[in-house]
């Protein structure tokens, strides 16, 4: 198990769901781009049925973690385990890791090693869906078509890998009708049913964000990864987003992992928060714990007065950096300091 996670949890009184029943476990994840360490030895869990928020200042490596989890980057080191079915399934995880296979299904679930899988397989088999920070809709296709593309894999099987579809077999027509029903369901959910036949590129920004979430949900995921879903939304739209995410968690049992800067959203809906800074985890726990964690406050607000923070290592680092800055002749010593990333 990840040591970092254990030490964090030791501080809290009870055992959390993400410890007991994690759907996703990231272990010792390191991602280097040349000499730059974007993520360094990161470990955390995402609880089944939780909304987990990944937060941190700009450039902390959150999107890199997302890209590793969803297969868009191959991590330099580390293991990313996705579990279908309850429990930690430790034996199965070890067995798959040793076997060199990408995943293994058993009677009570399945275990996927995401770092070994290509991106499309992660979405298709491990059932991890994602959205993007800069919205990636199929702008020239209608809203409905966007949601049908998301149901590509089941429709492909129903169309007999195109052969049955060309011949016009009834089984495909039924599957198509069903997929339109699924799409309609989600369009009603995100209040876009009126615009189903409009091109996605014509929607206003907030609607595009909602459509991207609906599209990800149409892949029928077990874990939904959202990259800054509230960016650019007004307060009313943020509130709607909260309701939508709660609905997804409560009614669909889909676990949610989100990156977010809007603390209103994060604190209100998150069951579990992981804080990154300079690619390293600096805090991990429920919202109440993270909110008052001095390291988090330091990372977000910067350190003006070292007396405010009563952690010896931090104070030492602050002093070291200030000294260095003065040597270089920098007048402004109240720079934001890399507490977490310095070790």
């Amino acid at each position: 198990m990840s040591e970092a996670a254990i030490t964090e949890v030791a501080a809290a009184p009870e055992a959390y769901r993400w410890e007991e029943d994690p759907i996703l476990t990231v272990e010792h994840l390191t991602m280097r781009f040349g000499g730059l360490v974007a993520v360094g030895d990161l470990s955390f869990n995402v609880g089944r049925g939780d909304i987990t928020a990944l937060i941190g200042p700009n450039g902390a490596g959150k999107t890199t973690v997302f890209n590793c989890v969803t297969g868009f980057y191959k991590p330099t080191e580390g293991r990313i385990v996705m579990r279908h079915g309850a429990g930690r399934q430790a034996d199965a995880v070890d067995a798959v890791t040793a076997s060199g296979l990408r995943f293994r299904t058993s009677a009570n679930g399945a275990v996927f090693l995401l770092e070994r899988m290509p991106d499309f397989e992660i979405a298709k088999k491990a059932k991890v869906a994602r959205t993007f920070q800069n919205i990636r809709l199929f702008g020239g296709m209608t809203v409905l078509e966007n949601l049908l593309v998301a149901q590509h894999n089941p429709l492909m099987i129903a169309s007999g890998f195109t052969v049955g579809g060309i011949l016009g077999l009834p089984s495909y027509r039924n599957a198509q009708r069903q997929s339109i029903e699924t799409a309609t369901y989600w369009l009603e959910r995100v209040r876009l049913i009126e615009r189903a036949d409009d091109p996605a590129g014509d929607l206003p920004y907030g609607a595009q964000r909602r459509l991207e979430i609906a599209r990800a949900m149409c892949t029928d995921p077990l874990l939904l990864c959202l990259d800054e879903p509230a960016a650019g939304l007004n307060p009313r739209e943020s509130h709607e987003l909260n309701e939508l995410l709660k609905f997804i968690r409560d009614e669909h049992g889909t676990s949610v992992l989100l990156i977010e800067h809007d603390m209103g959203v994060v604190m209100e809906i998150s069951d579990h928060i992981v804080v990154l800074d300079y690619g390293v985890k600096i805090s991990d726990g429920p919202a109440s714990f993270v909110k008052s964690d001095p390291k988090v406050i330091a990372a977000y607000l910067g350190v003006d007065d070292e007396a405010e923070i009563d952690i010896p290592e931090v104070r030492k680092e602050v002093a070291a950096v200030e000294r260095e800055a003065q040597e270089k002749g920098l007048a402004d010593t109240s720079l934001r300091l890399p507490e977490g990333g310095a070790e």
């Binding site: 969803t70 499309f120 078509e145 593309v149 990800a216 650019g232």
Partner: protein, 536 residues
Amino acid sequence: MASDNVAAPTAETTPVGAQALAEGRQTGSKPLNIEPFDWTKALKSSGQAAFLAGVLAFFFIGMNADIAPGGLVISYRFLALLYAVMVVFFGRLLLETFIFHAAPALSRVIASVVFVLVVVGMMAYDVPGTRQLERVLVGAGLGLAVVAVVYGVARWRNNASRRTRATDTTESRLAWLGRAATIVMLLVAAALPFIITTFFGAKDRQILDVAILIMTYVMLGWGLNIVVGLAGLLDLGYVAFYAVGAYSFALLSTHFEAIGFWTALPLAGMLAAMWGLVLGFPVLRLRGDYLAIVTLAFGEIIRIVLLNWYDFTGGPNGISGIPKPTLFGLEFTRGEGGFADFFGIPYNTIHRFVYLYYIIFILALITNFVTIRLRKLPIGRAWEALREDEIACRSLGINTTNTKLTAFAIGAMFGGFAGSFFATRQGFISPESFTFIESAIILAIVVLGGLGSQIGVVIASVVMIGGIEILRNLDFLQRIFPGVDPVQYRMLIFGLAMVGIMIWKPRGLVTTREPSAVLKEKKRIGADLVAQGEGH
């Protein structure tokens, strides 16, 4: 990573900005340039245009290479050069008054009258004598026609700038018109051989041959449309699959007695599809321009292999004696057991051409039918999604490698069918028929027609292939412009027309995309929203 972590909303991504953009799209054209008209400025810009035309035309029109004893000599045609410069100068003046600026009526009339007089003068001056009156009348007609076109465009522009978005009724009426036009075109195409034999008795063979050629390009265009229009993969070597199809049939039929056109057709399609996969594998990881270059190289490699593998393909000598297609074993020959004999009608060579026409017509219809079906299937939607955003596709669990490969293979298969038809029609093939220009023409048909549009491909093929043939046969122009052979200028006219279309309709003739699935009401999607994919 580090820097793209910030989602600072830009003008485009804020709700207000996006809304403004969307509204801007809906209202359509930009407001007219309402800079006041000024004679000095207009004359100055006309002078500049005329100077530029003079420099360019000096080489194109002013000089002429003639065959003389002992080689070529250059002769000069200063009068023609002067005419070209004058046309540009006064034409530009006409544009200045009507289109670039909203000039007062008097200025417009002056510019028009001067233009017409100049054209008449040019026509009349050149060759004195017999046809003087006719030439003056033609000159006046030409001048007036140009003025009328310019006036029409100005009127249309003026209305367009005032008009807001077309109402629903006009949209549905347009859709209905489009459907009606499609049905009429289909019926005309189905009855074409009979129309031609009835009305063009003397030249029926020639015209039917052009119709077959156009239909071949329609089919090739539809095949390439799958790769370029739907999947958005720019393929500059499509002719390679055409060649594979043609050589497959030619080689199979010359080596094996038993194989005729109808047995070879599916085999040729399969072989071409296989080569599509072979090409697909290495190019899948390439994007944009690199993809275009590698497909171009592939097209050339196939042609050069055909040219140099003498033992197998006959090299530059090609393959001759390729069998003609039969109708259930009936050959289109004179005498016993032939088609005419069997049905008891007098033998006529046209029968074979009519039959060839129907073969390619049905093959093209199959291509069209399959493409339309595929668009409504998950694979077709995945192609279009791939064109829109490949990364999003992967995040939705679509195997982009396989999706691209199927696009290449299916596009190649139709190219192979067309190729084996080409071989049977010609009876002789050689690598010369499969040069890069063929790929370029097919691609031009797809691009001019509008990427992804089936009817656009038809219109573009008729205009491009038929247009070249018409320019070849413009005898009547010879009578009006003696000494000028329009045939020599056909590529120039053709190029100008293409430039014109690209300026006027940069996204092709048919620019809207039809959605593949509809919940309540079918709305066509404007081209500005539709992505073009790799390498455009």
